[in-house]
């Protein structure tokens, strides 16, 4: 499939994901979207391989990230159906991060930002406010995911796309400096999970370990 055909397929897929992403919609339809996402991701990877144009690869990467986000959002609903709040939260964060990355990967990725706003609304509606943690570290050794050079010695910038791949700064050795409670962590999966005996997700009182009854 050509790049343009792939992108048109992605647009249709994302429209379907938005259509079924509601609490009352039949779970089967959400599972179908996940399956459709997996097929589309395989097609996007193949299309990326087939082109040598860096900009085209980055455009396909942006679409890939948007599809990954849609798949994670559908899986969030599945976790909620199963009563797995932790898993649902993890999927929502993954979906939010993916669409944010899509916007940086390629200028056309900004078209997918409509999902970012919708997911923020879902977050506020489905989950109680969370308290987050953040670590501060002194980096002793790191490398660039694109060229493997020490990160301060190459020209690649973390979060940007190069030839269809996102650049990350791989921290290989670091000294822990502090852990803080923050409002806006870079990884929102780092959160306080219970406080004063209450689960911060369900707000239910947790049973002390020695009082948990064995099934």
């Amino acid at each position: 499939m050509s790049k343009d055909d792939m992108l048109a397929t992605v647009d249709l897929l994302l429209a379907e994901a938005r259509r079924v992403s509601h609490l009352t919609v039949d779970p089967t339809l959400k599972r179908e979207v996940v399956s459709y996402c997996n097929e589309t991701l395989a097609g996007l990877k193949a299309a990326k391989k087939a082109t040598e144009d860096d900009s085209a690869r980055n455009r396909l990467l942006a679409a890939e990230l948007a599809v990954m986000g849609a798949s994670a959002e559908m899986q969030m609903w599945q976790h909620l159906e199963d009563g797995d709040c932790e898993g649902a939260w993890g999927c929502l964060v993954e979906a939010e991060d993916a669409v944010h990355a899509a916007g940086i990967a390629h200028v056309d990725g900004s078209a997918y930002q409509v999902d970012a706003q919708r997911r923020l609304m879902l977050e506020g509606t489905l989950f109680p406010p969370q308290v987050f943690m953040s670590t501060g570290m002194i980096v002793e050794r790191d490398s660039c995911s694109i060229c493997s050079a020490p990160y301060d010695e190459c020209d690649h910038v973390k979060g940007r796309a190069y030839g269809g791949e996102l650049c990350t700064r791989n921290i290989e050795q670091a000294k822990m400096l502090e852990v803080s409670i923050v409002e806006h962590p870079s990884d929102r999966r780092c959160r306080v999970t219970n406080f004063d005996g209450f689960d911060t997700m369900t707000l239910a009182k947790e049973q002390p370990a020695n009082q948990v009854t064995q099934g």
Binding site: H100, G103, I138, L177
Partner: protein
Amino acid sequence: MAETTDYIDVAKRASELGLQLPEGVVFLPRGFATVTTAGELLNESDAIDLVKLLRAEGVTAGMTTLGGQNLPSISEHDILVHLPVVLLQAVSPTAVALMVDVLGNYVYALIAGVFDKPRVKVEVVVQKKPGTYKSVRYEGSIEGLSELRDAILEVAKDE
């Protein structure tokens, strides 16, 4: 809004700490004006990215070094952008405009979609002549960064 005040003699302070200052736009390490020894200095993680982005725009940029080695950098896993203090030494108005654009785009890319109204807090130190430095501090919206650019250019020409 941008505010202008006097700043310490950067070259003298760097010399006291044994630091080498490269030319052009320099990102000063955290604690530059306050630490007792150079061993306490840390480069902001964001400084590394900003140097790369400025160089990609053709602007001479770098970070202070100690004995020819880069200082250790600090990595903080919150999403707030820890903008380092920026030192401008004999840079052109074009380079100032590029620097402000790069800062704005960098912050926007990191926090767009996270905050409704992203805000920037940055301090830029302008070398007016050897031994004389002025600090321009800006806190406000990304869209308002043109105020910072205008304040820097005003300080630079105000002899």
